[in-house]
């Protein structure tokens, strides 16, 4: 199998190699230390030679990627929804948090739809229809998720069942 370009098969934002400030070599460095430094510098040079790939688009962000809606009520609705939608590129962030261009496009989509009067939950459903439940951080009530909602009640019932003897006994004492 040919090695994938990145662990993820999609294009991702390429983080620029952060500039490494070269600290001055200590004059007392042992030979071994100097050898480590030589290798380190050689490695840095190697990184410098491989030009960073422009894996980033050149377009400006979508109009409503970073611009709030004029109506504060609508913006609040949009913000609340955006905080519970997963960015598909930076998968542990919400689209409200992520600076990935795709998250910006998703924010634009959410804001323009809310401005058009669409219900936030309808927008969530629209995205779930396309990406599955994974796109929503808010769990949906579905046959597969019932244990999630039923578990607290089941545990309470179990606790009551296990403790019933104690209550009875303390009453009798």
């Amino acid at each position: 199998m040919t090695a994938p370009i990145s662990s993820h098969r999609h294009c991702e934002r390429s983080e620029a190699i952060q500039s490494v400030t070269h600290t001055a070599l200590d004059c007392c460095a042992t030979l071994a230390m100097t050898r480590v430094w030589v290798w380190f510098i050689a490695l840095l040079a190697l990184f410098a030679l491989t030009a960073p790939l422009a894996a980033q688009d050149m377009l400006p962000p979508a109009p409503y990627a970073y611009k709030q809606l004029a109506d504060p009520k609508q913006e609040a609705k949009a913000q609340a929804l955006m905080e519970t939608l997963r960015c598909l590129k930076c998968q542990s962030q919400s689209i409200a948090d992520s600076d990935a261009p795709m998250a910006g496009d998703m924010r634009h989509q959410v804001r323009t739809r809310i401005a058009a009067g669409e219900d936030p939950e309808a927008i969530r459903q629209w995205l779930i229809e396309r990406y599955g439940d994974y796109v929503s951080y808010t769990p949906q009530v579905k046959p597969i998720t019932w244990p999630l909602f039923a578990a607290p009640l089941l545990f309470l019932a179990l606790a009551a069942f296990l403790l019933r003897g104690r209550f009875r006994r303390s009453k009798g004492a």
Partner: protein, 184 residues
């Protein structure tokens, strides 16, 4: 407390229940921990008709892309790509091979400038019949694609039949051809 003084019953299996539950929980944690990470989000739109869209051309060499093209009675490939995407360049020779075998490929260029698309096509070849310009990732979102490159097999009636996530490798070409034949 008559019960306490009575000869205590042998503890039943219930004593082991908490430990058992804890062990089950640990097992669950470890299975989750060592399960290989799968970060690909597959489209939930497979088996559904392609949403209606109409994109302007992304290059002067080819027309834009609209939904009616996909209902002309022949399965097609819909390739979501971008000039700024490295794996898209990697898969270009596979797309060329598919086009050579008579496959009709339409492209959607995500967040791309016309001059960049032209440069990309000049450098890596142009296997596309049409290329739509999707500056706001609207079509991408509408079909449940979560990145570039992705390739969708759309059947003769305009229904999405298969989604290939990531670049098409040489070994994937026969599989794509099979999916296209199935989508007849």
């Amino acid at each position: 407390m008559s019960e306490a003084t009575a000869p205590s019953k042998r503890p039943g299996l219930a004593v082991w229940l908490p430990l058992g539950l804890f062990a089950a929980f640990l097992a669950l944690v470890f299975v989750g921990l060592y399960w290989p990470a799968d970060r690909e989000v597959s489209s939930a739109f497979i088996g559904k008709p392609l949403p209606v869209f109409d994109l302007p051309p992304a290059t002067d060499e080819r027309p834009g892309l609209a939904t009616p093209v996909f209902k002309q009675g022949k399965p097609r490939l819909l390739n979501v790509f971008a000039s700024w995407c490295v794996p898209c360049a990697v898969e270009s020779s596979q797309l060329a091979a598919l086009a050579k075998q008579g496959v009709e490929i339409d492209g959607v260029a995500i967040r791309d400038r016309k001059e960049d698309v032209a440069r990309f096509l000049g450098q890596y070849g142009n296997p596309f019949a049409r290329i739509g310009k999707d500056d706001l990732s609207q079509v991408q979102l509408a079909i449940g694609s979560s990145g570039v490159p992705e390739t969708f097999v759309v059947d003769s009636k305009g229904i999405i039949r298969y989604q290939h996530i990531g670049d098409i490798r040489p070994e994937d070409v026969p599989m794509i051809m099979r999916k296209l034949a199935e989508a007849q």
